[in-house]
């Protein structure tokens, strides 16, 4: 995949947000202003990415992959912090901060997929799949697997 500024920004915002939530959870703190703002920062980033993506496509940049898949990913990602917030405040125990921590990491993974769709990189599953097959085949002593 092509790593652009948007993905780097997502990586920083998402991982810092998750780290803050994990630290708060490890300190046995429930969801508070700090962790909720950390998740809000992810939401703010995604909303600016949405606006920028609309502007970029309107200005004539073509999405390499299926455009509707890109927009579906983006809308789902935007709804994640909201869902995490809702699920976390229903029970204000420190476990809810782990739930909030899952938001940032998940958004980073989804941003990686969105970058693949935007720039048109193929899914890289094949090479690693072959390596895993070979490795497992050797481990189990079956020479017939390829």
């Amino acid at each position: 995949m092509t790593v652009d500024g948007w993905f780097i920004a997502a990586l920083v915002v998402g991982l810092v947000s998750s780290a803050i939530c994990v630290i708060a959870a490890l300190l046995k703190k429930g969801p508070n202003d700090v962790t909720l703002l950390a998740v809000a920062a992810v939401e703010l980033f995604l909303l600016s990415y949405l606006v920028a993506s609309i502007v970029r496509t309107a200005a004539g940049t073509a999405i390499a992959g299926a455009p509707w898949e890109f927009w579906a990913y983006l809308i789902t990602a935007i709804s994640l912090p909201v869902a995490g917030f809702y699920w976390a405040i229903l029970e204000r125990s420190f476990w809810s901060n782990y739930v909030l921590a899952a938001v940032g990491v998940t958004v980073v993974v989804m941003m990686a997929r969105m970058a693949q769709i935007w720039y048109g990189a193929a899914a890289p599953a094949t090479a690693t799949g072959a390596a895993l097959r070979t490795g497992l085949g050797m481990a189990l002593g079956t020479g017939s697997v390829q």
Binding site: A66, E69, A72, Y73, T76, L80, A83, G84, W87, E91, S93, W95, S96, Y98, V99, A102, T106, A123, A125, T126, T128, G129, L132, R133, L136, T142, V145, Q146
Partner: protein, 144 residues
């Protein structure tokens, strides 16, 4: 007041609290991911590999069922959750094994392919954690 509740209802109700909330959240993310993936595969390229994409759809249904039944309180929802998580474990083991040893018949793009490698092996870990969680929160009547 909650201290006076009978042990049975207390035990059942803890299924969706504490660590259970994180478990349900992760299940929810996988329900979303699997549904989106299966939907995309079936809409855009179903004819390429109908069996694999139907298995994708099955995975999506199982994740949705597990998420809902883990979040709901009560005896029947507990059983439903146990069944859903067991099917999930079987699914990831069978599909994972098939995708490695019969790769031609099995395109490598379902959630369960290669034991969930594309998702950081979380699909393999999740049903195990789910079963441990359910076992620790089973009904008192079933405890030895």
């Amino acid at each position: 007041m909650s201290m006076n509740q009978p042990a049975a209802s207390r035990t059942q109700d803890t299924k969706s609290t504490g660590p259970g909330r994180l478990l349900i959240a992760v299940y929810g993310i996988f329900a979303l991911a699997a549904t989106a993936r299966a939907g995309f595969q079936i809409i855009s390229k179903f004819a390429e590999a109908p069996v694999a994409y139907l298995l994708s759809a099955l995975a999506a249904v199982v994740y949705i069922a597990a998420t809902i039944s883990l979040a709901k309180k009560g005896r029947s929802w507990f059983k439903a959750a146990a069944v859903a998580v067991c099917i999930e474990l079987l699914g990831v083991l069978i599909v994972g094994a098939l995708s490695i040893f019969d790769a031609q018949a099995f395109p490598q793009d379902t959630v369960w392919s290669q034991f969930g490698r594309g998702y950081g092996f979380v699909p393999l870990l999740l049903p195990i954690l789910g079963l441990i969680w359910l076992y620790r929160h089973r009904k008192p009547a079933e405890q030895p």
